[in-house]
């Protein structure tokens, strides 16, 4: 059970409050990463306890998706440790990495369904690739997964025939096809209508609890996240600037958290892109 909540502090660089509960399934310890010379993450430390849903929130381009790629082993950090179930991901060899990925499920931003296969075959794909199950068994499993997301009747449709919300749900079913240990969601709420938003949010929570998986949700949808997650981390300019449970966040006095949650245009994340002072630029003639 989480320790007694205290107000999240905002020192520079801020560290998220540690959740002292079950052993961490995923840990990032002082991780830094740069694309070419641009530093995207600086000294990020976070813990994702087993069986919980953790949200990573922040503005666009602040490094949220990079964190997912580091956990999935697609990128190697410049410094720091990335641990999944105790194993250091960047140090795994190709075979070990593939073995690890078989226990991951990932939901991509727009589904990333395989367009040349039907819904059924998309979900059967990981089963056919990684198991020797018979076709009857695979059929039953696929239908079960589809039923869990409410799309059993759409099994024979092609991805092009699905609406955005349906495609997202099919991708979710595919992500949990092999009952993974960790599920990562990259912007699962982006671009959905209100009903689909509610559906996806509920599915994420229910499936997490039913399968006992650990989930990481990268998003900037505050409203939906607060409804379903166990813990949130706020990322800004490559650092963790705040963190807490949903109650902490709702009642937080932290200026960054407040700007994000209330949707204020100006605050710790400035409205104006850095430029010359307005009067100076208007009055000067050189351009």
């Amino acid at each position: 059970m989480p320790a007694a909540p205290s107000a999240p502090s905002r020192d520079a660089p801020a560290q998220a409050r540690q959740v002292e509960s079950d052993a961490a399934a995923i840990e990032l310890i002082d991780v830094s990463f740069a694309y070419d010379e641009r530093l995207v993450l600086r000294g990020v430390t976070m813990r994702v306890p087993r069986g919980k849903i953790v949200a990573i929130m922040g503005g666009s381009g602040c490094g949220k998706t990079t964190i997912l790629r580091l956990i999935g082993g697609q990128l190697k950090p410049r410094s720091g440790k990335v641990l999944v179930a105790g194993a250091s991901v960047p140090d795994l060899d190709a075979d070990a990495l593939y073995a690890l990925r078989r226990r991951f499920g990932m939901l991509f931003q727009f589904g990333a369904l395989f367009t040349d296969m039907s819904v059924f075959e998309n979900i059967a794909f990981p089963m056919r690739e990684h198991t020797d199950l018979s076709e009857e068994l695979i059929r039953d499993l696929v239908l079960m997964k589809l039923h869990a997301v409410g799309l059993r009747g759409a099994a024979d449709l092609m991805p092009a025939e699905l609406s955005g919300g349906m495609a997202r749900r099919v991708a979710l079913a595919r992500a949990i096809a092999l009952d993974p240990m960790v599920v990562m969601y990259d912007e699962p709420f982006a671009g959905l209508d209100p009903i689909s938003l509610g559906v996806v949010g509920q599915l994420i929570r229910k499936l997490n609890d039913a399968l006992g998986t650990t989930s990481i949700v990268v998003t900037h949808d505050v409203y939906e996240s607060l409804k379903i997650v166990d813990y949130l981390y706020f990322v800004s300019e490559g650092r963790i600037v705040a963190g807490g449970t949903p109650e902490d966040v709702r009642s937080s006095a932290d200026s960054y958290v407040r700007q994000f949650v209330d949707g204020e245009p100006d605050g710790p994340v400035p409205f104006h892109y850095p430029a010359q002072p307005y009067a100076e630029e208007l009055l000067s003639h050189a351009r």
């Binding site: 593939y98 990925r101 078989r102 990932m106 991509f108 990333a112 369904l113 395989f114 990981p126 690739e129």
Partner: protein, 270 residues
Amino acid sequence: MHADVLAGLAQGLRRLGSTVTGGVSKLGYASRFLLAVLWHSPQAFRRIQLTLREIYFAGVLSLVIILMSGMFVGMVLSLQGYETLKRYGADEQLGILVALALVRELGPVIAGLLFASRAGSAITAEIGLMKTTEQLTAMEMMAVDPLARVIAPRFWGGVISLPLLAALFSAFGIFGGYVVGVRLIGIDDGAFWGQMQAGVDFWPDVTNGIIKSVVFAVAVSLIAVFEGYDSKPTAEGVSTATTRTVVISSLAILALDFVMTVFMFRGAGT
């Protein structure tokens, strides 16, 4: 003034240098890519369905354009060839003319160019689109290697399809030449086939044509899958990659054709 000119020149040289080094390093990257594709190829054959599907999309769907073009080229060869041969009283040699031109050169080369435009660009676009919509990344995250599952089957689909298409091109071309030469113009049927048989040797004419088409097939297929895999994951990126496939494949075919022709038919004499 001087400083500006020099600076511009230096800039130009620098850009030239980086283009050349960029090109060379891309060549190196492409070679490593080829090795990686070959390394992952066994799976493309163990799960033969994957490759069969690609042979269908690259080969079977190109049949119409290949067969029709072959026939037209053969017919035109016959027409043009007859006019010239008649001047030397050698119109009975028409069969050899049409057959040799097709089997040695036009079959492999034109079939290769058509294949690059139709099938090559389609392969590049498909792979590029899969990259843009994160399908390749999704596969990687599902612990399935896209090189083995997506790239290698398409590479081998092209390598197997093009030689067959080139042979069909030549065959239909000869048929077209026969229709025009014997049926339309009125050259003797026996002379047409007889001279052809006497003049076209299996070794080196037919076999060299086959070797050429195999070399072209490897080149076009490799360029097509590479450009798709290497494309920028945006709409422009995919369209640029598709254009590059057609242009680079065509140049490669013509350049390789020249090199191979020099080695194969130098001193063939006949």
